[in-house]
């Protein structure tokens, strides 16, 4: 059963209140370090690892930006454990990707206190700077987004966020609840014993939870699910063939940024940068000879399709792939549409549970009989 504490804040005080809470977590040794989005000295907001209570003043968990999917940061902090207890403030897609990395043994949650935030979307990194330049703050964003207004001057939250059906992260120890908490108020929910311990150690007083929260979350999730279905439908009707896929990928230059940005593209070394794809000159000439011409660089859709076979079973829909594309190709729907079909086929949902085995890591002799259609 969840327990809540309430933070009431006056205008401009949300981050101050939160920083006091996090400072007391460090002070009371509830955790040894905190990884959270913080305002940077020059500009922007980035995940920052803090070990001193004097340095949490710049904390800004609700800043509408996600420079990278922090599941990868969490992976680098925990694969070779520090032995320190770290509280990580992450968005829903970051938590879900992290859960997948745990299953791939590329991250470990033993010494981690997962703190989720209610996510109303993020701007692209450059748009966030514009947002800040126009005096936008996390508080103003939360207030407007809760009223359904996320648009800024010529920009909006990322396409992936508009179709994300998980505004609230699963599998967290603590959640910072903004949705349905009322104006000028934030609820902090302890969902696990670990979370409760940390909050108690930080001197929290538990109260009743916000009453309208469940409905408010449900409403957002429903709207976004509908938007997701509409996106999937339009993408699927646009791309019924390889030709259509090639059209989508026409501007792709094989930079592989989408897989670098992808939190669940898990290979230590991507096969597309190995000798397998370092073809000889005569091979290229041979391929060109076959049809008279050869698009260079080669293997573009081959790369994207291979990426689907590797990561679609774990795709959490964070949209970092689209954000990372230097040629503005919206690749997210390519991966998400396949991901949905693949995850459905294996009755799997990326990020749902640490205990649920990944589809290609298990198999059974009495399953998928329809694949061969043969019975002995």
């Amino acid at each position: 059963m969840s327990k809540y504490i309430q933070l009431a804040y006056t205008k401009g005080e949300l981050n101050t209140q939160l920083s006091e809470l996090f400072a007391s977590m460090l002070e009371n040794k509830a955790v040894d370090a905190i990884l959270a989005p913080m305002t940077q000295p020059k500009k922007g907001v980035m995940q920052t690892l803090v070990t001193s209570k004097d340095n949490v003043k710049e904390i800004d968990p609700f800043a509408p930006v996600m420079p990278v999917n922090s599941a990868k940061i969490a992976s680098s902090l925990t694969t070779s454990p520090s032995g320190k207890k770290i509280a990580m403030v992450l968005r829903s897609c970051e938590v879900r990707a992290l859960v997948e990395l745990v299953k791939l043994k590329q991250a470990d949650l033993d010494d981690v206190v997962l703190i989720g935030i209610d996510c109303l979307g993020r701007y692209e990194n450059t748009d966030f700077l514009k947002f800040q330049a126009k005096e936008g703050t996390s508080e103003s964003f939360l207030e407007n987004a809760m009223a359904g207004k996320t648009e800024g001057d010529g920009f909006d939250v990322a396409g992936a966020c508009k179709v994300c059906e998980y505004p609230v992260a699963p599998n967290v120890d603590i959640n910072l609840c903004a949705i349905g908490s009322g104006s000028g108020s934030l609820f902090i929910e302890a969902l696990t014993e670990k979370g409760e311990e940390v909050l108690s150690a930080a001197g929290a007083k538990f109260v009743n939870g916000p009453s309208g929260r469940q409905d408010a979350v449900g409403k957002i999730a429903k709207e976004r699910s509908e938007a997701r279905n509409a996106l999937f439908e339009s993408y699927r009707s646009e791309t019924g063939s390889f030709d259509a896929l090639d059209d989508k990928l026409a501007a792709c230059i094989n930079c592989y940024n989408c897989r670098v940005a992808c939190p669940v593209c898990y290979c230590k070394e991507c096969v597309f940068v190995t000798d397998t794809f370092r073809h000889k000159g005569e091979q290229f000439i041979g391929w060109a000879d076959n049809k008279g011409s050869l698009r260079m660089p080669t293997d573009t859709s081959f790369y994207h399709l291979t990426r689907i076979t590797h990561m679609a079973a774990f795709c959490v829909g964070c949209g970092q792939c689209t954000s990372a594309c230097p040629n503005d190709i919206d690749v997210m729907p390519i991966f998400r549409t396949s991901a949905q079909k693949i995850q459905d086929r294996f009755e799997y949902l990326a990020g749902r549970s640490v205990d649920e085995p990944q589809p290609l890591s298990v198999f059974d002799s009495d399953e998928l009989m329809e694949v061969t259609g043969q019975v002995k």
Binding site: R236, T239, G240, S241, F242, D243, A244, L245, D246, V271, W287, N290, K291, G292, S293, L294, R295, T298, D299, T300, S301, F302, L305, T306, I308, T309, A312, A313, T337, S338, K341, I342, R345, F346, P359, L360, F363, D364, S365, E367, L368, V371, T372, Q374, K376
Partner: protein, 143 residues
Amino acid sequence: MSEFEPKIVSFFCNWCTFTAADLAGTSRLSYPSNIKIIRVMCSGMVDPKYVLKAFLNGADGVLIGGCWPGDCHYINGNLKARRRVALLTEMLSQYGIGPERLWLRWIAASEGTMLKEVAEEMTEKLKELGPSPLNKTKNAVVA
């Protein structure tokens, strides 16, 4: 115009399906030459990339042959192959390569006749279905 002859890239496991093809040969059973056999040690080593590469290079169909569940020389490679084929089918169907072009069949070493039948059946189905959509595009070889 001559009849369309589908190209079927076939990955046969060394221990069962390839041996079945061998048996079909020594038993003087003839099967369509549309089946182009690549011998692999196990159906479980057929990387999804092999299948993709075959289709991208203009194969009209891909046939993977493995041992029956329980008979795999490597205990369970065939079961892994089945999961991969299911995954590939979900992905490829969106782009016009349906399950009728990607087959996985269990054919034991003793089932030379079944090999002949499967080869004939798949060739026949693909003749009805026509060339792979990737074969009609000018860049089929590249993609």
